[in-house]
Amino acid sequence: MTDEPYRWLEAIANRRDYVREQLKGGSPAFAVSMPAGILLLGVGSGSSKVFELHDRHAMAGLGHPADIERIRQTAIDAAHIEAFTRAAQDVSLRRLVGFGLSAQVKQNFEQLFTAPVLGEFVFAELGDTPAHDHLVRLRFDGSFVTQSGGVCIVAPETEAESAAQEWLRREIESRTSLEAIADLLLQTWWCLKEGMSFPPTTPAESERQSGWKANLAGKTIEAALLRRQSSSVSRYETLVLNSEGLGIH
């Protein structure tokens, strides 16, 4: 059937609908570039969402745990081979995602007789300053967008993700501490999970705060910081975060 162009287009469209349906209900994940480093955060229920990739690289995602694991392992393999055969400074998201992962995810999506990747991802690369940080948003069809610094959200609904990202970008400007930014990300997480629209009908901050705290039952907040100032080669630090506060593990 796929040798006829129309059938192929129809099959791809069906496949896109299938993947989107599978990703519905996924728990959003976040990456934020800030002076202290890059904060990655997700809320999981039984499976991990935030991972270290290399000295200055990390990722977060939503979707099927097996597919997140497959992408994670592929990225780790590629990063370590690159660092060993060249140097750690040569590991870059531009090459890792742009020349490697993106093409493989696209191929998986468009080859109709292979399983598509049921996952959406954000990759983070720590720079010397926030302006040199890179965030890459990789979608299930292999398309990706790179940005320097800022905020990046991974959510199952594209429209809600864009609206939340725009709102978060404005709201985050008035916050400087790690705790305050993590709190804001969790507020955004709760709004997205509840299917709320963003301005002008966003609920008040106190309501959003009590909302995310009340919805943590059976779930774990996963957070990590790619720390800019560190004596360690590996900049990834796991943060312990619960409704009581934030600590470094």
């Binding site: 290399h54 592929t74 780790i76 081979i81 060993f84 493989q104 590996s234």
Partner: protein, 264 residues
Amino acid sequence: MTQTTAIAGDFLSLLAQHETRLFAQHPIGSMPNQTQATTVFAFHFAEGVLMAGDRRATAGNLIVTDKIEKILEIDATSLLAIAGVPATAFEMARVLQTSFEYYRRSQLQPLSLAARVRALARLLRDNLPMTMQGVGIVVPLFAGVDFSEKSPAPHIYFYDPLGAQFQAVGHAASGSGSASIRSIFAFHERHGTPRPSEMNRLEATRFALRLLMTASELDSATGGVDPSSNQFATLKILTSSGIQTVSDSDQAAALATDPNANAG
């Protein structure tokens, strides 16, 4: 997607998939004048393990450099001391650094001390063809913290060139100056006041520097320690909380406050 590695979390099998060869496996025509690095040692003191090395590399009767680093940090709680051919030893250190981090990141747990010790033994075995030809021989020391113990503590291991591994009770030494250093250790472990295992950080630092000074007087391939010409050793301290480097200024201070300075 790429194939999964043959052994999960094993960086060497990942390298093999990419057909990256670590060490030369075939005989070479003639033996080059090899750069050698000596002398290194490690011992237990009151706070943990002190690992020390001089900074001289030689090739035959030539001094190649007096600035080489022979005590290498493999990860946050592992140290490698290299004696032998730096070209091979540095490559082994790089393989270990990448392997340990690769395992920790890919398997989401750190490698056990036993596995870290065996990883080095495996590299030495892989280097066997070069060792048997007398080219690229490496006789390293390894120190790491065992976190499976109730009270995690650092341990010292030494190896033979074929990869056999041995745990050191009090101390271990390798390289051309190691014979004199082992003799002094044996004496101090029996008659010293305090014994090396009882020394505090300052005493251990001073003891290590004096050991290297003595070795350099008896072995031309061992670089000395001479504060007047700003020539110091590489000293690293391993405890259960991590690695600390004893700076040149701290080494100078340890020697300057030596109550037995005139005794040599």
